[in-house]
Amino acid sequence: MDLKEISNFITSSAKSLNIKKWDFGASFSNDFSVQVDKGIAKQLKASQKQVLTLRVWNKKNLVGITTTSDLSENGLKKALYQANLASDYGNKNELTDFSPLAKDPIKDIKQAKRSPAGIKKLLETLRFAESELLKKHSAIKTIPYNGLSESFYKRIYANSEGAQRSYAKSQAAIYLYARAEENNRKPRSSGSVKIGYGLEDIDINSCIDEAAEKTISHLNYSAIETGKYKVCFSPESFLTLMNAFSSIFNARSIIDGVSISNKDSIGEMIANPLLNVFDDGLHEKNISSAPFDGEGTPTQKLCLINNGILENFIHSESTARIFKTKPTGHAGLGSKVSVSTDWIVVERSEKVLSNDNDLNHKDYLGKYIYVEELNAIHAGVKASQGSFSLPFDGWLYEGGKRTSIEAATVAGDFKTLLKEIINIEKKQHLTTSGISPHIWVKELSITGDA
């Protein structure tokens, strides 16, 4: 796979169609995955995949696009032709250009690139993990959702003004979701996910232990009363919520009118001053980090909330132009360029506030709900309205004792939640989707089954 060869072919073919300006992004991947069922290999998968997205600019400076998995000469010619046709329908009201940063130096992320472990090794490892997890408790009868995968991929970006970027990565992931059931009780299920640059970087035993602990600990459950409760979000669940409402920082969403922020929201106090939030795609712990975005803009660390104040939006080239700023390295590549966060890092600021600040989930003796994991995000979040109503796995704590909650939902408004944060614990925890401490919220509506 050679970036220059594809660029050269597109350059010569574009000339024959009188296309002077173009860019493309492409990815090439080899993926391998295994699943097991009580020691037996269930499905072993391998895939070789390539996809290229090509943009061209016509004489009126309107953009057309085509995406294809056919990287033969004929396929690339057809992609150019189709993109050229599509440019007749380019958005006249929001012109797009190359990122002004597409040739800026990118950071060498110096991450380990592993060699394939191979299907047999993956299978052997997953069989071991399943077997060990089944041994952890007699109530764990099956591990219905499990998988171990490794992926090797390369991403490239180039444009007709000479920008050329590429990087290659490896990544492996394991997930184990156990199902436990005791006599005359409802089944319970929970699990764990771990990722690394390669199989050798994944702590399989901690994945087994975590899946077992989470599943077993919820076996002795009770229904809870519906009502308003003080709530402590686990780092995972708070990041889930933060990502679900990331349109609050998203310039594309703001322009489109689907964000609860607006163009003048920068500088607004939107959260408790204890809250700092960054987007840090290049964080050393981010296994999935990418040195540049879909438009070739270098990835960067950006402060989103500083002492509770909304500090920055994330941008593509076109939204940055509208906001009279620079792109931030959060763009995709498309006919209408999407914008998204990379890796959210939440921290407690230096601000000292109310007397609730010492709340700690390890020693607080009062009554509260601990939200361990939020579910059904796609169904229960209305990002454009700022509201959520989500089922969760969690605990009722009272007097230092905890009881697993049978089934419940937590509901509220995201902006209110940010303002009603009453403590952010000091210790940050690494998760698969970012970093966050435990976050305490004054009160949220909980619907229980009691």
Binding site: S69, Y177, P187, K336, S387, T447
Partner: protein
Amino acid sequence: MVLTSYINKGIDFDEENKQLLEEIISHGLSLGADFVEIFLENTDNISVLVEDDFITSVSPSFGKGAGIRIFKDTRDGFVSTNDLSRKGLISSISQAIEMLDINATTIRRFEGLENIRNYSSNKNAWLESIPTINEIGEKLLSSTKYLKKEEKVNVRKGSYARNWQKVIIASSDGTFAKDIRLHQTVGLNVIALDKQYRSSGSRRFGSSDSPNEFKNWDHEEAANEVLDSSMNMLYADYVDACQKPVVLANKFGGVIFHEACGHLLETTQIERGTTPFANKLNKKIAHEAVTAVDEGISSGSFGSLSVDDEGMEPEKSVLIKDGILKKFISDRAGEMRTGHKRTGSGRRQNYSFAAASRMRNTFIAKGDYSKDELISSISDGLYCKSMGGGSVGATGQFNFAVEEGYLIKNGKLTKPVKGATLIGEATEVMPKISMCGNDLELAPGFCGSISGSVNVTVGQPHIKVDSITIGGR
């Protein structure tokens, strides 16, 4: 560079490719596979987005790929690739064999492929007869212009997507079929705004194998539906959390049956041990008012197929008859591993997924009651006129957002309420569906599961659930 891999003569989607496919299948069997299946796909898609009064995105895409699956006993290996050259396909099947660690001790006999079943013969002109970008743009622009009639509507969007797919399916039991599939969807979305009040409304319409369907789409009727929904909900209060009887509207209300019960009747769930219905065949699992069907044969319905992705013609499967479980939804692997006969339900999003047992057009059959009779039977409850998305956990618990809800007081619809979520478990809720209306209607949707996102329809008449947990504020 990848360009070189196309030097070898490979698959040509305008040809039958019989000799090449037989060669690849024979190669897999010669290496010890019990069964070999090849799924070839050629796609040509486009999506168009109109925002307010402008076309803001036109996104064409096309591609080719192959999914090769082999079985040894009940184990299977699956390899997908974009390399459709002879060399690429041979290499993929060898990789699948290697993954399963097969030794060629016994070699299965292969009688060759049967004469091709060509389901595409009258579909070759579809790509030429579907609407042009100009026609699509004009109709979407008319739709968003119509949405302007309500001044509180702040965001207006219209979207169209066309997925054209040519497939060839060949396997070592002689199966040899080709088909062309065409799916078109069009959606309208609005956000209404007034001071601190916000609401949204959306509807999606879809068809399969009907090139002219979009041209016939009544965009004004659709826009009125979306506007009514968003305006009715703009000033709605949040619903109180409670347990109450509910009436679920017809059409997309069927999403609850699809998610909460339908998935549990797929053989993949039996294989995983995650369905409470595994041993309930011919036993009562629902109220006797409930008869439920999954089929792939209704003309033009979004989940219909001429042939499934494993080369089998779809059947009409009565899943539940008068509350008694009668059948599971099964694919080839499901039949092999659970014993339940295939139902023409082996489906996948594209070549990069192995087929799995998936629903098609799934609905609760109509009953005898009118909608008014259902509502008037409730003194204190909730009418769920429009459902949002939902999900089902590994233990069978489901939850669904209610997009448009109204309180029922003394048998009458009263004020609109927002923020409601329906929570329950299929085993508990199915026996509580006590009344089914006489107004069955279907609605298109996309279902995401083990083999990717596939087109389906959900449906039901109005139904009454005697009691369900309603999440709220």
